[in-house]
């Protein structure tokens, strides 16, 4: 890559041609103030705060809009000289700041951005001290309605247009715009309709001032009162990096953390705003069902009730199901407990997924999230990426904006914010592609780095295993994987998209039926027929609890949701913000969520509940602290010994042949994503008032998200 020498503030640096002068200045260690410039958005160049001096140029240069390749050396061949803190630069910044402040209200004491405001900070650093010459009235702008998540105080807007660019470029929903011009320029949605994007909350982070703030968080807390904990999101299978801000025990807000390999710096509205569900509908003490009614009990009473039931129950008549939000530790503890009791009816796939626990590549997103940016053809099979992994969908949109990638879809058509060729709705089309009968088969073969994504709409169907087999065949035949994967060394285009944060860990730890064990369908039918007498639900709410028959149900979890309503004994557990837990995202990347607060009331960390229960049952688990659990985890599965992305073994053809099962495919049945409501996919989100309002507005209401 070509580069160019620059002398920035007296230091000579070598900067790549493709970056902007602003980035080069930062590489040289200079600090450049900015409002409109953002690394992940197009360049606007309208705030004029980033002006720097190019010695010899007649005027100061907006460094965000000047590419290094356009900076030519001096006539004598010496590198161009750039000053970022000379007197003219300082004067220009003070001028730009003064202009910005002419119309900016001085309401910092009542502004929610106060304390984390770019304008506030930069006014301190680059403004004129104790000097003003504008006595005219400030302009006033009417506030605009932008939906239930974004509160607007538009008088504060400095027209950086970051939100407009985010909506258009990243969210792919051209609903924000700047009307009028000059002093009358206003940011608005068309006729003040709600901003219908599942990524809308990110504009609040992008806004450098307090014009767009979080509506649910309005007037709730000041940034300096909050304790910040870096953690991992569990609302979908992607494992977005988040920061959990707490005051006391309460989670006040959730913000994204930058991680280029996963979520860049975006998070979905569910990740951000389901946090009020953490303090509603919580299970804060154990309950035992007596005479048909759940009554509060002590831990001892609850354990006694379980113990007496378990002692009368043969292992083959017991079952355990892991829900969507469980961390690896409690999955491990439950598995060890159940295996110790001789129970083989285990399942971590409460959605009925027909995924096998081996080979590992058979249930992972092998291309990796960052890796998709190299793809030149993407085939969706039974997935609605916009609702199953919204941030990944934004990355796909970025791919579409910047490359010549082609997208195709088999299954129900959803609006993913970029054009997708619709090949057909049913599995017949997949079969035709595999047989080479479909016209799109040639395009797949010609692509250099093709990838496919099998979604829950395919692998959760009764014929899911056969569909997986077909998908793996297609991947092998078209050079995505396996022996034919010769187009590009190391390319792996076979991807399974999980919607649950716990799924990969469950499969990694083999929380699947043992020898002659029953899977989810077997457990439910057994419960109905009476062959299964006891079911242990570890936060499993997404299954049909009416099918649990007369079984004795133990529900260990956080919220009074479907599972708890059906339960005979409730053990209150800790939510993802209340415990340290390991989560493997759908790439197989191991990340650790950290404790931001303590669980409410008598609730305990989940692995500890299982450890205590094992003692009562006379089968004590061999670990007494979380480190012990993690040691046991890495002993069972070496990948759990260290965080991060494990090195994937090379493509052995045998692996790919082992994916799925041969079987009859129901060719006519539509491949539709099982997610009916993006905002209500887990117990935390269902307890959240904010999510309920979004659901009312965007899913069942008038403003249906285009995705459905």
């Amino acid at each position: 890559m070509a580069s160019r020498k620059l002398i920035i503030d007296g230091n000579e640096i070598e900067a790549e041609d493709t970056i902007t002068l602003l980035q080069a200045c930062e590489q040289a260690g200079a600090e450049i103030p900015r409002f409109c410039y953002h690394e992940r958005l197009s360049v606007a160049g309208n705030c004029r705060m980033c002006l720097v001096e190019w010695v010899g140029a007649p005027k100061l240069q907006a460094s965000c809009a000047l590419q290094v390749r356009d900076i030519f050396p001096n006539k004598d061949g010496t590198p161009a000289k750039i000053n970022t803190n000379s007197a003219p630069v300082k004067k220009a910044r003070e001028g730009a700041m003064e202009f910005l402040l002419i119309n900016h209200p001085l309401d910092c004491p009542i502004c929610d951005q106060g304390g984390e405001c770019d304008l506030q900070d930069q006014a301190m650093a680059y403004g004129r001290a104790s000097f003003h010459r504008f006595n005219e009235n400030k302009r006033a702008v009417e506030n605009k309605y932008m939906g239930p998540l974004i509160k607007t105080i538009m008088t504060r807007c400095i027209q950086c247009t970051r939100c407009v660019r985010f909506a258009t470029e990243v969210a792919g929903v051209s609903e924000l715009g700047a009307t009028g011009r000059g002093e009358e320029m206003e940011i608005t949605t068309y006729l003040q309709q709600a901003f219908t994007s599942e990524l809308s909350g990110n504009v609040v982070d992008l806004c450098p001032v307090g014009a767009l703030t979080s509506r649910p968080y309005a007037f709730n807390a000041r940034p300096w009162e909050l304790r910040k904990t870096e953690s991992i999101d569990v609302m979908d299978g992607m494992g977005a990096n988040i920061r959990v801000d707490t005051r006391g025990r309460q989670v006040m807000r959730v913000l994204p953390r930058n991680n280029d390999e996963i979520n860049e710096e975006w998070i979905s509205d569910k990740t951000r705003h389901a946090r009020d569900g953490l303090s509603c509908q919580r299970l804060d003490k154990p309950y035992v069902r007596r005479n048909g009614k759940l009554v509060a009990a002590s831990w001892v009473e609850a354990f006694a009730a379980i113990s007496s039931k378990m002692k009368t129950c043969a292992p083959q008549r017991m079952a355990a199901i892991v829900g969507d939000l469980a961390g690896a530790e409690e999955i491990k503890a439950l598995k060890d407990l159940m295996t110790g009791l001789g129970v083989v009816n285990l399942d971590c796939r409460q959605d009925g997924a027909k995924l096998k626990s081996t080979p590992r590549q058979g249930y992972l997103f092998n291309t990796t999230i960052a890796g998709v940016e190299a793809a030149d053809l993407v085939l969706y099979i039974g997935t609605n990426l916009r609702w199953e992994a919204p941030v990944l969908n934004a990355r796909m949109r970025k791919l579409w904006l910047n490359t010549n990638v082609r997208f195709a879809n088999i299954g129900k058509a959803y609006d993913l914010t970029y054009p997708v060729a619709q090949l057909g709705e049913s599995a017949d089309v997949l079969q035709a592609l595999v047989d080479g009968r479909h016209e799109f088969a040639d395009a797949l073969k010609e692509a250099r780095r093709p990838m496919l994504i099998v979604g829950a709409g395919a692998y959760c169907r009764p014929d899911g295993a056969a569909l997986l087999k077909l998908a793996a065949r297609l991947a092998m035949d078209t050079g995505m994987i396996g022996p034919a994967g010769i187009h590009e060394g190391g390319w792996n285009g076979f991807n399974v998209l999980h919607t649950a944060a716990s799924r990969v860990a469950g499969l990694d730890l083999g929380f699947v039926p043992g020898d002659a064990g029953r899977d989810l369908d077997g457990i439910l039918s057994g419960a109905q027929s009476g062959e299964i007498e006891l079911v242990y639900l570890l936060g499993a709410d997404e299954l049909d609890t009416t099918k649990l028959g007369n079984a004795f149900v133990i529900y260990q979890g956080t919220h009074g949701d479907a599972g708890a309503h059906r339960a005979d004994v409730i053990l209150p557990g800790a939510a993802y913000t209340e415990k340290s837990g390991l989560y493997a995202n759908f790439e197989g990347r191991l990340q650790m969520a950290n404790r931001a607060g303590f669980p409410p009331g008598d609730a305990k960390e989940d692995w500890a509940i299982l450890r205590a229960l094992s003692d009562v049952l006379g089968q004590p688990l061999p670990y007494d602290d979380i480190d012990g659990v993690r040691r046991a985890l890495s002993a069972q599965c070496a990948l759990y010994g260290s965080l991060g992305m494990p090195e994937l073994p090379g493509a052995d053809p045998g692996i790919w042949n082992a994916i799925g099962d041969t079987g009859q495919v129901d060719g006519g049945l539509s491949l539709a994503s099982p997610i009916r409501d993006f905002y209500l996919t887990n117990p935390i989100a269902r307890a959240s008032e904010t999510m309920a309002e979004c659901s009312r507005l965007f899913v069942t209401g008038d403003l249906k998200l285009a995705a459905e």
Partner: protein, 243 residues
Amino acid sequence: MSVRRLAPDDVQPSSFSFDPANKDRVEQWIAKYPEGRQASAVIAALWIGQEQEGWVSKPMIEHVAGLLHMPFIRVLEVATFYTMFNLAPVGEFLVQVCTTTPCMLRGSDEVVAACKKHIHPRPHTVSSDGKLSWMEVECLGACVNAPMLQIGKDFYEDLDGPKTEALIEALRRGEVPQPGPQNGRHTSEPLGGATTLLDRRAIIRVSGAGHDGGQATEENAKVMVEGSPTHGAAGPTSPGTTR
């Protein structure tokens, strides 16, 4: 200039579509741009729509957006950015009074006062008979005949208060006043007639020097001097005929 918003719902029409002739014109504009760049025709489309209806309505914005495959907000941005688009209903005759410096120095205040008195005290407001509305505009480039106003595509120049009143009343009566200078002078010549360039033969020699032979006839000279088409000299046209 004030904040530009769409007109309130109660004055918005229920629908909009281009009439066949205008539809052809819009399609010609769209065809001028390469495939995928049809949004470039948005200003032309809105302008043609405004010529048809007199103002840009919400249904028009949505119709144009659909035609050009643009999000509504992108068309709204354009419509609110350019003050040439009227976002509220206008009178049958829209009187656009220039009040930029040269016109103001030459007495545009009187023209505005006449509009206030005879049309409506407030700009952008249709008179009670629905015939007229007026607005202030920035320089229309006829400073040499200041003060002036524009109605439709016609300029009325060299105005003062009484002349403006007469003009408005004539429009009310359905008459078609002669566009151009209203004080009797020819284009921007001095009021009493031309004072220079009176020697036509001299002009002919100079302008004919470049031609082969340079031999120009008296008739040619007449055409070259007097017949140069200027607005106001091109014969009477009806103001607002384009509407």
